[in-house]
């Protein structure tokens, strides 16, 4: 059986996998990082989004062996080491951008990457378009869009805190 060596949330791992093992299966089953979710089997839903070497990627459509030497961040690795929430996580809570929570890890990871790549700031339609790869069945996206609009100001230094953005 092949092995793959990769860093996940800052920790190195060497894991035995099959050739066909998906990255999401490695994360959930081998590393017991169950925050990354599987919501579909056609790469439509985005519940599995993680960051690989700074890019948001659907872990359900990535073979584990393709991640040799990669630096992977999952939802479990998003908050600061001392437990303080990432501004995107804070914004999601402040704006009630989650209900059942199942799409949330992938939605947050996608949103973080979307905002990081757009320091100029995104309009509401641009945020909606940027979320094309993520499905949510509970919220209707209304509050997700609001949360991302608030978080982008904090992430790019235009506002100090999510609470300030809420005013």
């Amino acid at each position: 059986m092949p092995t793959v060596t990769l860093t996940v949330n800052g920790k190195p791992h060497t894991v035995e996998v099959e050739g066909r093992t998906l990255l999401v299966e490695l994360l959930r089953e081998k590393l017991r990082l169950t925050g990354t979710h599987v919501g579909c089997d056609t790469s439509q839903c985005g519940a599995c989004v993680v960051h690989i070497d700074g890019e948001s990627v659907k872990a359900c459509t990535t073979l584990a062996v393709m991640c040799e030497g990669s630096d992977v961040t999952t939802i479990e690795g998003l908050a600061h080491a001392d437990g303080t929430l990432h501004p995107m996580q804070e914004a999601f809570r402040e704006y009630h951008a989650l209900q059942c929570g199942f799409c949330t890890p992938g939605m947050v990871m996608s949103a973080v990457d979307l905002v990081a790549k757009n320091p100029q700031g995104l309009s509401e339609p641009e945020i909606r378009e940027g979320l094309e790869g993520n499905l949510c069945r509970c919220t209707g996206y209304h509050n997700i869009v609001k949360a991302i609009a608030a978080a982008q100001d904090v992430m790019h230094g235009r506002r100090e805190t999510i609470a300030a953005a809420a005013e």
């Binding site: 925050g35 056609t42 199942f102 993520n134 499905l135 919220t139």
Partner: protein
């Protein structure tokens, strides 16, 4: 203890406690759970809509790596079929047809996805690999997917013992009075429509883990369910013959349900049974393609309706004839959805004096159909609100004026409808007026003209609705065929140092009960939300409750909690009276403080609870120690939210694409506990309703092949398919539950589809379009536009 501020009680938009774990990937969804030594199950499903099973050859599969066991129906001969929880009777009083619903197919498969065999192996991949090596000999038979085809005289029988594929032929209302009213009516409007089959697609696929303790003989089922006690009862009593005391069902974090996770499914019985047989845990997780062919579907009605009006536009009578698709087998609540949750809503907001509705429930070779967000009420509202728009156009009335003219008057409550239900309160005029204002209905024609200058067709549509939820009074539903009660349970456990644990039979799979239920306790008992724990979803911890669906958690579960809190306060007063040497009649309680009336002698709730658990200086002969109370609450009536939804759309002529420009929802959900949560529920419901109106359709070909078999072919609404949804609430209190709440979980999905379709038809008004069947997709609209301009 700190005093609870108004920011934590009823009416506050308290941010959710449960978010912290969901946002950091620490949710405990069923597939996140791994039991020591667990094996994995994979289900072999039929690829045929209808076939006899001639032979199942598992020899090759059994020898493959990691395989522990392979089971078919032959191995399950001793267990029962999946029971149905509601018995409907025919017009002639005879009971509905109730063909067996086997756990694994017995001799025949009746829909694509019908489970045939289960492979148990050490890993999921090994189970799947082996499953794909099973060879089944089929004698393929003709299949039918549409109710019209199933009712044809020469249609193949879905069940050999069910003639004509008719599960039941039911009716409600006064046929003679309706016929008489039509005879004299100036206007007679006929309208035919479908309400298309939908796939709920909660983001979390179903999962079930069966476990068995070989020492104690205790069975445990972890499952993605909205109602673990119901599963324990149905599976334990009717399928596997396990007494409740030996069967625990746990529904941990569940990623959305929308009705699809109410039912007892075959896979739950399979893993529970297999775990006991093998003496080890067995885990099954659905993939999405599998979910498309095994999760219960929703809607699927074909309806012909007729409305009689007088010269001024007063509704005189309504006649409805609906065929409802049950699918191949009866799912748990299926029979009640197109009857008692549909036809009883056909008065809507209107004072139509006589109504008659007939419903035929029909078997076809498709996945079983059952309740999906709204469950019968979206079907009723869609029918009514399209019919009213059609009548307005046909008879020359203004669609707002026609509605207003026929609204039930605000002083007419309680209002007895001609279809059994009695509405307790409502004010359809206020929600209409507010929605018209917010949506700037008056300014629409200018917006239409401006859009036309850019070559776009703009339309605006309205829907005014009433729905019935907060289910339900047990005796009433029992007389209507329900095989269960529909009460709820609440336990308030005040701990010695004053924190509170609540055990509730309700289940949160996105609704935020861990926060909103804690708000009820903060408001009434004065305990900080941080010190209130809401426990749900575990039959070992919570007394018997019926679970969450039909927007019942707050109205029924919350009321049970309220009753239990009243008992806590009553006992607390007796203890406080003793401690403060006063008579109990002189003790007042307000938000955590017991006071001797007219004095400044007080005791905090925490002091009372400590005394109750350390009963040294305590009237032990008169009052038992402890401070924990249980209440069961059976509702006196359904609750009746109502409101007005307005949608504005724009159509691009070149492509037919319909864009939602904005959406206004003004809903009366009774008292609002957490405005932020209510808005979230409405926005989510509207998204599903817009999805139904513009995007979604579960498509079978005529022979029963599932054509929309994955999210590649079933259009789920995405963020850029939707527009901002303006949400406002108008309150008329529920008159019959202690909280005055009506429930808000489904109103979004109920009111929105007709508002959107009414807007689409309005946008196409220059094209002579009478009706557009849902979903109003771009190809469909393009064809309409180009047929008319050809």
């Amino acid at each position: 203890m700190n005093v609870v501020t108004p920011f934590e009680g009823i009416g506050a938009s308290v941010r959710r406690k449960e978010d912290l774990r969901f946002l950091s990937g620490r949710g405990q969804y069923t597939d996140d759970m791994n039991r020591p030594g667990q094996a994995h199950a994979w289900i072999l499903r039929s690829q045929h809509a209808h076939a006899r099973i001639l032979n199942i050859d598992t020899a090759a599969a059994a020898g493959m790596p990691g395989v522990v066991a392979i089971y078919t129906s032959a191995d399950l001969a001793a267990i029962g079929g999946i029971p149905c929880g509601w018995q409907i009777h025919n017009k002639d009083g005879t009971p509905m047809a109730e063909p067996k619903h086997p756990v694994l197919a017995e001799g025949k498969v009746r829909h694509v996805g019908d489970p045939i065999a289960v492979v148990i192996a050490e890993t999921r991949s090994q189970a799947r690999d082996a499953g794909e090596a099973i060879v089944v000999d089929f004698d393929v038979l003709p299949g039918i997917s549409q109710t019209t085809a199933a009712l044809a005289p020469d249609a193949p029988r879905v069940h050999d013992d069910v003639a004509g594929n008719i599960c039941y032929d039911w009716h409600i209302g006064d046929k003679a009075a309706v016929d008489a009213a039509f005879a004299g009516a100036k206007h007679h409007v006929v309208f035919e429509t479908k309400n298309q089959r939908l796939i709920p697609n909660a983001m979390e696929p179903r999962c079930a883990v069966g476990d068995f303790d070989t020492m104690s003989g205790d069975h445990t089922l972890y499952t993605t369910s909205q109602n673990p006690h119901v599963i324990r009862l149905l599976m334990g009593a009717f399928v596997l013959n396990i007494p409740e005391s030996k069967l625990r069902v746990v529904a941990p974090d569940v990623g959305g349900g929308f009705g699809s996770k109410i039912y007892h499914y075959a896979e739950e019985a399979i893993v529970t049974w297999a775990a006991a047989k093998l003496g080890r845990a067995v885990k099954w997780t659905s993939d999405r393609t599998e979910a498309f062919m095994s999760d219960a579907h929703g809607r699927d009605h074909v309806t012909r309706a007729e409305l009689a009006l007088d010269e001024q536009g007063t509704f005189l009578a309504l006649r409805v004839d609906t065929h409802a698709n049950m699918g191949a087998y009866l799912s748990t609540f299926a029979p009640c959805v197109p009857t008692y949750l549909y036809a009883t809503l056909l008065a809507g907001c209107y004072s139509t004096p006589v109504i008659y509705a007939e419903v035929k429930a029909v078997f076809t070779h498709t996945v079983p159909v059952d309740a999906y967000r709204g469950a019968g009420r979206p079907e009723a509202t869609y029918l009514l609100e399209r019919l009213v728009d059609v009548a307005a156009k046909q008879c020359g009335f203004d669609r707002i004026a026609l509605r207003r003219r026929n609204f039930i008057a605000t002083d007419a409550f309680p209002y007895q409808t001609p279809v059994a239900l009695q509405y307790d309160s409502g004010d359809y005029f206020s929600t209409l007026d507010e929605a018209l204002k917010t949506s700037d209905w008056a300014g629409f024609e200018a917006r239409r003209a401006a859009a036309a200058m850019h070559g776009k067709l703009r339309g605006i549509g309205i829907s005014t609705y009433v729905e019935a939820c907060g289910i339900a009074p047990s005796a009433v539903v029992g007389s209507l065929g329900a095989r269960a009660g529909l009460y709820e349970v609440g336990v308030i456990r005040v701990h010695p140092t004053g924190s509170v644990t609540v055990l509730t039979g309700s289940h949160s799979h996105g609704q935020g009960h861990e926060t909103t239920f804690a708000q009820l306790v903060a408001d009434k008992l004065g305990v900080l939300i941080a010190n209130v724990d809401i426990v749900h979803g575990d039959t070992a911890k919570v007394p018997f409750g019926m679970g969450t669906y039909g927007s019942r958690s707050l109205a029924v579960g919350g009321s049970a909690m309220d009753k239990a809190m009243d008992k806590i306060i009553a006992k607390g007063k007796r203890i406080a009276a003793h401690l403060m040497e006063a008579s109990v009649e002189d003790i007042e309680f307000d938000r955590g403080t017991f006071r001797v009336a007219g004095t400044d002698k007080t005791k905090a709730l925490a002091e009372i609870s400590l005394a109750a658990y350390v009963p040294h200086k305590y009237p032990i002969d008169e009052i038992e120690p402890g401070l924990e109370e249980t209440a069961f609450y059976d509702p006196k009536n359904f609750t009746y939210p109502g409101g007005c939804h307005i949608a504005e759309v724009e159509i691009e002529k070149e492509t037919g694409r319909v864009t939602l420009i904005n959406f206004t929802a003004v809903d009366d959900v009774g008292r609002v506990i957490n405005p932020m949560i209510v808005a979230g529920q409405v926005q989510g419901g509207v998204a599903q309703g817009v999805g139904q109106a513009l995007l979604e359709a579960c498509i079978y070909d005529a022979d029963g092949q599932l054509m929309s078999g994955s999210m590649m072919d079933y259009t789920m609404p995405r963020a850029d398919d939707l527009a901002p949804v303006s949400v406002a609430t108008h309150v008329t209190l529920c008159t019959h539950n202690p909280l005055g709440v009506k429930g808000c979980g489904e109103v979004g999905a109920i009111g929105s589809p007709p508002a959107v379709i009414n807007a689409v038809v309005d946008a196409l008004r220059d094209y002579g379009v009478e009706h557009v069947e849902m979903p109003a997709t771009a190809p469909k609209i393009w064809s309409i536009i180009h047929a008319k301009t050809a």
